[in-house]
Amino acid sequence: MRANCWMGKKDVRVETVPDPRILNQRDAIVRVTSTAICGSDLHLFNGFIPTMEKGDIMGHEFMGEVVEVGREVKNLRPGDRVVVPFPIACGACGACQSQLFSLCENSNPNAWLAEKMMGHSPAGVFGYSHMLGGFAGGQAEYARVPFADVGPLKIPAGLTDEQVLFLSDILPTGYMGAEMCDIQPGQVVAVWGAGPVGQFAIASARMLGAERIIAIDRFPYRLNMAREQAGATDIINYDKVGVREALLELTGGRGPDACIDAVGMEAHGHGIPYAYDRAKQMARIEFERPIALREAILNCKNGGVVSVIGVYGGFIDKFPMGSFMNRSLTMRTGQCHVHRYMKPLLEHIQNGDIDPTFIITHRMSLEDAPVAFDTFLHKEDECMKVVLKA
């Protein structure tokens, strides 16, 4: 089959590789019909996530048609159309039974590697380094899906791929980011990053009843989409205005009740602090450039919530612990427990509460994945989200 492979830093290529096979009796093989490039794939592309190996198949947002199932998979049959959640979860361990699917205790065969870097291991993830399991990803013609009796969501007829594809990751991720804010009527939520996850966090905050939603980014096309399509009430372009001054003005000097970091480890910014982080990251002294996170903490209202859904990989410097502690802030974070959001969000899509297709700007062929990565990385052609058709 053909698959998009990580060949090194800033180098992905579509190669011919062996077809996947059933390795465990709870596996399914899915013929991928649609797959997407995630913002977090750019962290892999840029070489910021350790334990990638040459030849690794990328991609963790995918859906398709079941073509083969293992002996123990009773709920799926060849021909079923499914969306696959990006964390791999067994459904039987303590974490899964607590609905913490991205912390599944059984799905990462390389847990020892993750333990070395993080203390304890999270779940395995498709196409996201060997530290997270060494699973082949979904930017391919076919994918092996472990625990197919737990993860994949069957899609009713009448819904297009594009309507449901983002149930695999970014829609639930954005939703969880908003849910973790514990939004009360009348509250103000600020969202750093108006990329695809930020757009869905904004749309979810709207569904959850936030009074005011402020989008912060530097690309006018993203800010416009946030206001016109996702439901942001206000936008801040940090290239044009000071974020702090703008937030104070929009909140009567209090600061937002909740701040969502939908940026993660490769934030951009201005001036000496940005140059400092950029230099340290390039020298590999620091894993992350936590500019958005620091800003979210410093600007959050006293006693407010900082919700982190942007991806981080290692250690950060200059964490404003003094501000965080003295002002009684709460941080909530995590890789999305996608499984617990898929069904309710599918209902929201069916009800018309949200139409996730608004973020799609590019439709390309799997064969064009390398071009698509480049376009997405450099935000060329007002690129927001690329869907690849296999």
Binding site: V17, Q25, R26, E53, C90, Q97, W112, G134, R144, F147
Partner: protein, 289 residues
């Protein structure tokens, strides 16, 4: 809680005499330093004449004592050489007893002390000689199944190779005895084991009875608080050369044991389906192990 022995029952770690040996090493260093630094004070303490050749001899004995201390830390098995030192010390004190100007009471007390230390030296030497075991390897895992279920799966020795990667087979011979075949660095290693303790739902202990293959293992099953299943604790003691039982390996065994019990089988990824470095993409036909 005593974190040195996380499970109940006799701690296996104390059977090697390693703690005693290290203690004797520290004692050697302390005494040697005192003899070298303050020979006259030491002479007064043991009741010997502090004039004449005595300080020089004490300094020499001190230097020997320090060398022993260092030697014990470098090679614990060299602890028996301390016995030769004890004899030298006794000869020195005996010689001093012949001098009428010395304090006989103190000298006799010194003889007593030397005999006491000598007894510890003999004990440590014997323990070190008998012990073929290195440091214990301990690993823990919480498994979301009842202690009875977890115990039963482990007690079925013939199915241990399902999750212990280095085991080729375990053949159960009778209620107590079993035959184990493993691969160590590409070469097969075989041993017979016997069960030394078996409390259904609580713990299993076993040991190798094959000469030259020192191996003791114990696994305990405790109900985890909050209905979270079973806390499994494995303790393996073996010779340092038996590289099968590193901490990482035992921990991997336990993780696969958890997968087998909770999900039905050992979970494979595309990269883990083949030994060694392998890209996260499906393996070509014929290389899956």
């Amino acid at each position: 809680m005593d974190l040195q022995s996380p499970t109940d029952g006799p701690p296996i770690a104390d059977m090697t005499g390693q703690g005693l040996t290290k203690g004797l090493g520290v004692f050697s260093l302390g005494l040697g330093l005192a003899e070298v630094a303050a020979p006259c004070a030491i002479a007064r303490l043991i009741g010997a004449d502090e004039r004449g050749a005595t300080p020089v001899i004490l300094r020499a004995l001190g230097a020997r004592e320090i060398a022993h201390g260092i030697g014990i830390f470098a090679r614990p098995r060299s602890v028996w050489t301390r016995l030769a030192g004890d004899l030298l010390d006794l000869a020195f004190v005996g010689w001093q007893l012949g001098n009428r100007r010395n304090n006989r009471t103190r000298l006799l007390a010194t003889v007593g002390a030397l005999l006491g230390v000598g007894a510890f030296d003999v004990l440590a030497a014997v323990r070190m000689q008998r012990s073929q075991f290195g440091e214990p390897v301990t690993s823990l895992m919480t498994i979301n199944r009842s202690p009875d279920e977890v115990y039963a799966r482990w007690r079925d020795f013939s199915r241990l190779p399902d999750f212990m990667r280095y085991l080729e087979s375990v053949t159960v011979l009778d209620d107590r005895r079993s035959h184990w075949v493993a691969t160590l660095g590409g070469a097969p290693v075989e041993w017979d084991a016997e069960i030394t303790g078996d409390l259904p739902g609580r713990s299993i202990a076993w040991r190798s009875v094959t000469p030259g293959i020192p191996l003791r293992g114990r696994v305990t099953f405790d109900a985890a608080p909050g209905g979270r299943g079973t806390e499994v604790c494995v303790d393996i003691r073996t010779a340092p050369m038996m590289k099968l039982f590193t901490r990482a390996e035992v921990n991997g065994d336990l993780r696969r044991f958890k997968q087998v019990l909770e999900t039905g089988e050992v979970v494979a990824s595309d990269a883990s389906s083949v030994r060694g470095m392998h890209a996260a993409q499906p393996a070509p036909e014929g290389v899956v192990r």
